[in-house]
Symmetry: C2
Subunit: 278 residues, 2 copies
Amino acid sequence: MNVLVVYAHPEPRSLNGSLKDFTVKRLQDNGHAVQVSDLYAMDWKASLDAADCTDWQPGARFNPSLASKHAYANGSQSEDIAREQDKLRWADALILQFPLWWFSMPAIMKGWVERVYAYGFGYGVGEHSDARWGDRYGEGMLAGKRAMLVVTTGGWEPHYGPRGINGPIDDLLFPIQHGTLYYPGFDVLPPFVAYRTDRIDDAQFLEIRDRLGQRLDDLWKTAPIPFRPQNAGAYSIPDCTLLPDIAPGISGFAAHIASEEPERAATADIAAPAMQYA
Amino acid sequence: MNVLVVYAHPEPRSLNGSLKDFTVKRLQDNGHAVQVSDLYAMDWKASLDAADCTDWQPGARFNPSLASKHAYANGSQSEDIAREQDKLRWADALILQFPLWWFSMPAIMKGWVERVYAYGFGYGVGEHSDARWGDRYGEGMLAGKRAMLVVTTGGWEPHYGPRGINGPIDDLLFPIQHGTLYYPGFDVLPPFVAYRTDRIDDAQFLEIRDRLGQRLDDLWKTAPIPFRPQNAGAYSIPDCTLLPDIAPGISGFAAHIASEEPERAATADIAAPAMQYA
């Protein structure tokens, strides 16, 4: 299979750099083809602007969505953007690897998402009407591919636990995993997270490396996070809100993940008490 | 009072540009001093790298935290970083204004946070030990100042509701509001959010503008989000996890916001059933 690793760390001799090199070798040893977008090494342009649409009329008011739509449809995107889109088309799986900076991806990787996810490619795909709100959240140009985050953080694991002060890691990653990976269609695997990576010794490095190696070996057999597809009956359209009998009594990020238990109430529970939504 | 507006949109003639100009005028009309960091106009460098520490030895392994600590302590930060820190010291209130791109701030603003929040300024402040985990989450260099997000999004309000497909807006903004504003000490006001801003007519613009104007008029009397301070008894240290009698039965982002009801259980509820944490 083909794997694209998009990687963001400014220092090749960092833990992240070592894990990236390890990932490439492990995947190749397993018979996969690998491409790496090493964003710092590529001097990736982080900020989306009018230059991303090479035939945008100078002086014309720049609308990011409309310019992206125009450039994608007319082949006038900046070359670096088109090249990354080609890599995504080629890939069967995408790995985003980064250190967690201020509870999200580094700016340079956020800029990769913003620029590569063109209108017509990453969003704005499919019919948008009162009956259908586009091909997104489980459908889209990247459907059928898998994606996984590989994240390091200096913080301690309990700080990211269910009641840890930073907030649960899965909730912190929801805007990325659901909002940028599931959105254009990826099947999203549970993230690989390494904690307390500020100072690690050889034994800790080997533990992290072996744990990551197992996840890479299992890339095609790990079950994806069961996010709910938008257009398969769980949401009302166009307000894109969960129907009352789906995850009754649950609100927030967790409601968008199907549980393993039977879900639909025996009877519709449209007038559920407001307290259930607390 | 002094207000710093950090603003990220590539087009001055956009809705965001209009709202930024309106904000500056309204605050000045109210007698405040205003500085604007217009990140696109400043061509702000989004990507944190070794150049941010002007005396980092060429070829030396770059550790972002250690380099930041060194540069902040030794006055060898890149000038653009030091200038923004001066603006933050000057400010009594900070407004971050941006369009919501992929459920977070634009890369250029993320890079402002990453680079301006130096070790010793934005984090790594105060004693870190088994008894105290730094001055953060309610304490820190920016304590005593207020902060507010001003956010536009093309999506519909119900898409960001308690059971909307994107996830609740307050949860999507938690990594920013709690993780980057409350973290170094800001009192964080509820966000100002404008929905469906892809196409708005004059009446809608006036509605948004007037609603924003009211929030600006109330900047010093709006109650902040009651995030729980780390070092005031709600969390165990050093694992930074909520004590069992704080928000019993609640996990996730919501547990870090104090409710208005009395909270501490009459008796400690250490062995609460696991289901309560579902």
